[in-house]
Symmetry: D2
Subunit: 168 residues, 4 copies
Amino acid sequence: MTTRQNAPTDRAELAPALQVSQWLGANPPASLAELRGRVVVLHAFQMLCPACVSHGIPQAIKIHQAFAREDLVVLGLHTVFEHHAVMGPAALQVFMHEYRVPFPVGIDMAVPGQAIPQTMQTYGFRGTPSLVVIDRRGAVALSHFGMLDDLQLGAFLGQLVAQPAEST
Amino acid sequence: MTTRQNAPTDRAELAPALQVSQWLGANPPASLAELRGRVVVLHAFQMLCPACVSHGIPQAIKIHQAFAREDLVVLGLHTVFEHHAVMGPAALQVFMHEYRVPFPVGIDMAVPGQAIPQTMQTYGFRGTPSLVVIDRRGAVALSHFGMLDDLQLGAFLGQLVAQPAEST
Amino acid sequence: MTTRQNAPTDRAELAPALQVSQWLGANPPASLAELRGRVVVLHAFQMLCPACVSHGIPQAIKIHQAFAREDLVVLGLHTVFEHHAVMGPAALQVFMHEYRVPFPVGIDMAVPGQAIPQTMQTYGFRGTPSLVVIDRRGAVALSHFGMLDDLQLGAFLGQLVAQPAEST
Amino acid sequence: MTTRQNAPTDRAELAPALQVSQWLGANPPASLAELRGRVVVLHAFQMLCPACVSHGIPQAIKIHQAFAREDLVVLGLHTVFEHHAVMGPAALQVFMHEYRVPFPVGIDMAVPGQAIPQTMQTYGFRGTPSLVVIDRRGAVALSHFGMLDDLQLGAFLGQLVAQPAEST
């Protein structure tokens, strides 16, 4: 796994805020800060990206089902960087309905005159699918472009969930 | 397999004409009649239907690759009967590009005031994915809603391809 | 597909006889000659060969199910060329029971002092799994080492089944 | 998951000793006690059990690869309770070679006059595949008959690995 391991104490290393123009689905968070104390799995995808649809979304749904909500929260992030016209909010809504996506999905904020949306730029995603894991203290524990094995990812998340929120 | 076996000689039993408002992709046929003499596999799908995306489209691509074009032609038919606003021609074009669909896809003709498009009504499809196989003489040899096993379908198509175009 | 296409008329091109020391399972053929007029699919395997177990045997079972017995017959051939001591008839019998193998399996005849059994030598198999397809006239139409796609193989067999037994 | 959660403090609740007549493969443990302080995953299987071969063994290999050896150790247990004659040590050795099993496998001790071997009886396995997970303190944390999802199992193991060996 391509990981970015951050020492957890410095405030500057906190996961950057999500820049989201709109949330779809139930129970969207007010902000990442609101989720501090839980592990957050952020699945960045595009609804017409084949590897996202065949691998990333099913894996994100499995993660959502494998953990208690008070320990770990899955968020989708629709990072549209191509074919913007046909992957708008109405299309995404249908996609979420048809694929039974059970977690909230934020639409990454468009940047006027640029193809790549705001959060994708801030996090430096190389494409879709990308997966970011944020630990209980709010630091980025993993940032990965491409596919990850279910068992390896489950093991990584299980260990992270077992870590205390406070390092005191 | 749910099949409709037609005796091939009566003109009335020929596969109904496709009512298509627009073709996307290379080498669209002028009509089914133009393809008389070859086996035609018609794959009816919607671009946001999960079983179409995970099963139907990959199978149709395998069929396209398994046969010589002069023996068998695969045609897609985009039979949108729900969520019409987000599955228009521009979205379908992106879908075909992202999923590398190598055969032409016709957009089933909308019927004013009705959800179900024209060809879908004519053929009586119960949903998507649906597969229609037309033999060399132009008669419907198979009409199936849902998924079919690759080996069984390959065997069926192989036998059909081996039949002569003329029953004399 | 690695194929060997034989002109069907010359007697010398008939598939060589199977050298089998024992048949397991119901309805073993007396000889290949007895099956003349039908397509024969010969699946050569070893019960402890991983690709045979995960791919070859399930595919052979699908072929067995996809065709009428009067058109096509599947035969297994246990071509043990390594670890002979632990892949004897009693072990094979258990394997066939556990994996629900529905077609007869012949044990390739051992050659004294040699690892490679008789039929494997005669047919020149390079390893397991290997697949041989014999047409209705008794000629080898396909001989392949390794894995084949279900749809492509189904198409090939369907075309072969549709050919007449007699070329007159 | 069918789990048996033991409070970890009582010595009587420690995982029972393995009764093994012979170990195959590198680095067999002297006993479970020797592994105290690490998580132990015990995969009970039979080499001719289809679900063991297609699901259990590949999953056990993934677990072996996903964790550091000082945190978690995978052990195989060959619990032969049927067809004993063809699943002896020599056959198992070939199976481990052909399937590239990278962890040690113990042969469950036969009980004279009984089909079910000793450790299988002690642990009360209902069949194969069965999976037992022992925590760092030596207590059984999970005992499951059948298949488990990779992501769920990875999450469970990750959490267990993150627990301290001592409960002080």
